[in-house]
Amino acid sequence: MLIEKPWGTHDFLPGEAAQKKQMEDRLLDLFARWGYQLVETPPFELDASLPEGPRPGERRFQFFDDRGRLLVLRPEWTFSIARLAATSLREKPLPLRLCYSGPVFHAEQGAGRDAVFHQVGVELLGCAAPEGDAEVLALASDALRAVRLERVRLVVGHTRFLDGLTAELEEAQAQALREALVRRDLVGYQAVAATLPAAVTDRTLLQRLPTLRGDAAFLQQLQDSVEGKAARHALQELLEVAASAHAATQGFPFLFDLSLLRHPAYYTGLIFEGYVSGVAFPIVGGGRYDKLLDHYGRPAPATGFAIGVERLMDAGAVSEAPVKPIYLWYGSGEEEEAWQLAERLRQRGQRVVCGKEPPAAPACYAAVRRLVEMRQQEKSSTEEVEGDWQKMD
């Protein structure tokens, strides 16, 4: 018999699982305080209902229902939330603030990509730029602070900057530039950019694009050298959003990067990713997707982000250490009294394991006590009991 877990999956052991839940709870609690409501959707969707097929390099888990219809394990949450907003929540007025927590599934393997990973995130539906973007960016920043991450870098870009700069190019050339950026091939990008006709409005800017990154002051300076209206407008929007998001949270510093590009068929405005020193992959990603809800028949501007839970754990974003229970043991004829005592302790919030005879592995417990000891301790006041345990540890 073959006993092993499927590739790309991960068991969360005692301690790990508790830590993961604490982190998710902490984030959902924060989202709730920003007015976001928790929703849950089935782990799979009808393939025919999804707005787009797999992205380059992406593979999905697919299977059939009993009527032969193709089902897909959710490759991301946003599709499901958008479907929800356009169907079950159709009558609810916009803007909708929704949040979620749970696994997503990808059938490909590679560095930093598991078959199952967990995301906690928000979607803000029906709120246009720039207000919506500022809220979501500030919330992302707040969320990373809530799980006590330090040295976070939020990288912010705008899809319409590149769209604006490439508007007058031939589509094939614009496409080649975008594809190089998606592949992260800046050498390939520059090779294409070098062949641009001299008459192109912001030609030098396009050629310098991979180096266009810096702080707000840099962006401000850059604005003067942008000829194209659309690109200039995108910069203006970035500056506004960043200023209000930053003021809202005194959050992490932004690194503006105009070559940042995430799934160009999907995002339509401000996009961002968060990185932490010591973790090799982005821990949060999101942005504006104003076209997606069209597909579901309830057109509305929308934005959101997802945080990778496993990556947060890699980054050491941790809450309190897990608490061990105490072990209460009893001899023959003491069962009833022992169980009653344990019950009283549990009602006071203590973690108690109750058993006959001392435990085989005492190191698993915060303390090991015999019923007689506990009986005497309980005679003193409640507060003292709790104090005593701490001393005895």
Partner: protein, 214 residues
């Protein structure tokens, strides 16, 4: 990934000396780095750490963040298909990735290569059904002993092909060594990496100019 400073992965072997020369010219002290001893990790001045790895492994070290940046051949980058940034063409290690075989043909459907991913993609794009045979070296032997009709491999001077009575049938790609970066390091250590790109870029540009004026 070290918290501060940069870790750079360099390929052991043929290209190491050229890579070190580039770094030195760019103003980085390369100290006692060499691949003749067993030492694989070097701490240099200016918060720079060098690790030496097999050329084929460089993208893996960088993708997982064990190194922030690395020098990797375009052939290796294409083959490994890891998510990483390709920042600069370093202009060293120039060669061509080619399909080769005995002169004339016809060829059977087997192609031997060290690059199964590139080969699969290339022949699919050209609408040709082939069986890819993955070898780890001495690929040019395959046609001589009937293991495969053709090979897909790097060609620099063409001497190896000639000695084995093979000719280039098609060019797949022009290859040079690239500066690659981990996606997270590229953001978190933006300042240090931008500095490295600028300095190396200047050296590469100088060299190209030098070649042109000769």
């Amino acid at each position: 990934m070290a918290e501060d400073g940069l870790t750079i992965a360099l390929p052991k072997g043929r290209l190491l000396a050229e890579g070190l020369a580039l770094l030195a010219q760019a103003g980085y002290e390369t100290g006692d780095v060499d691949d003749t001893s067993r030492k694989l990790l070097f701490h240099l001045s200016g918060d720079l750490r060098v690790l030496l790895a097999k050329p084929l492994d460089i993208p893996t070290y960088v993708a997982y963040g064990a190194a922030d940046v690395g020098f990797a051949g375009k052939d290796v980058v294409m083959e490994q298909q890891e998510a990483l940034y390709e920042l600069l063409d370093l202009g060293i290690g120039a060669c061509r990735l080619c399909v080769a075989g005995p002169k004339g043909g016809p060829y059977n459907s087997r192609v031997a290569t060290k690059y199964p991913n590139i080969a699969t993609g290339y022949f699919r794009e050209h609408g040709e059904q082939v069986e890819i045979i993955h070898l780890n070296g001495s690929v040019e032997l395959a046609p001589l002993v009937g293991l495969a009709g053709r090979i897909l491999d790097v060609v620099s001077t063409g001497q190896t092909l000639q000695e084995n009575h093979l000719v280039v049938l098609a060019e797949v790609a022009q290859i040079t060594t690239r500066l690659v970066a981990n996606v997270s390091s590229y953001r978190v250590k933006a300042e240090a990496i931008d500095r490295l790109v600028e300095r190396l870029g200047n050296v590469v540009e100088e060299r190209t100019k030098g070649v042109k004026t000769l």
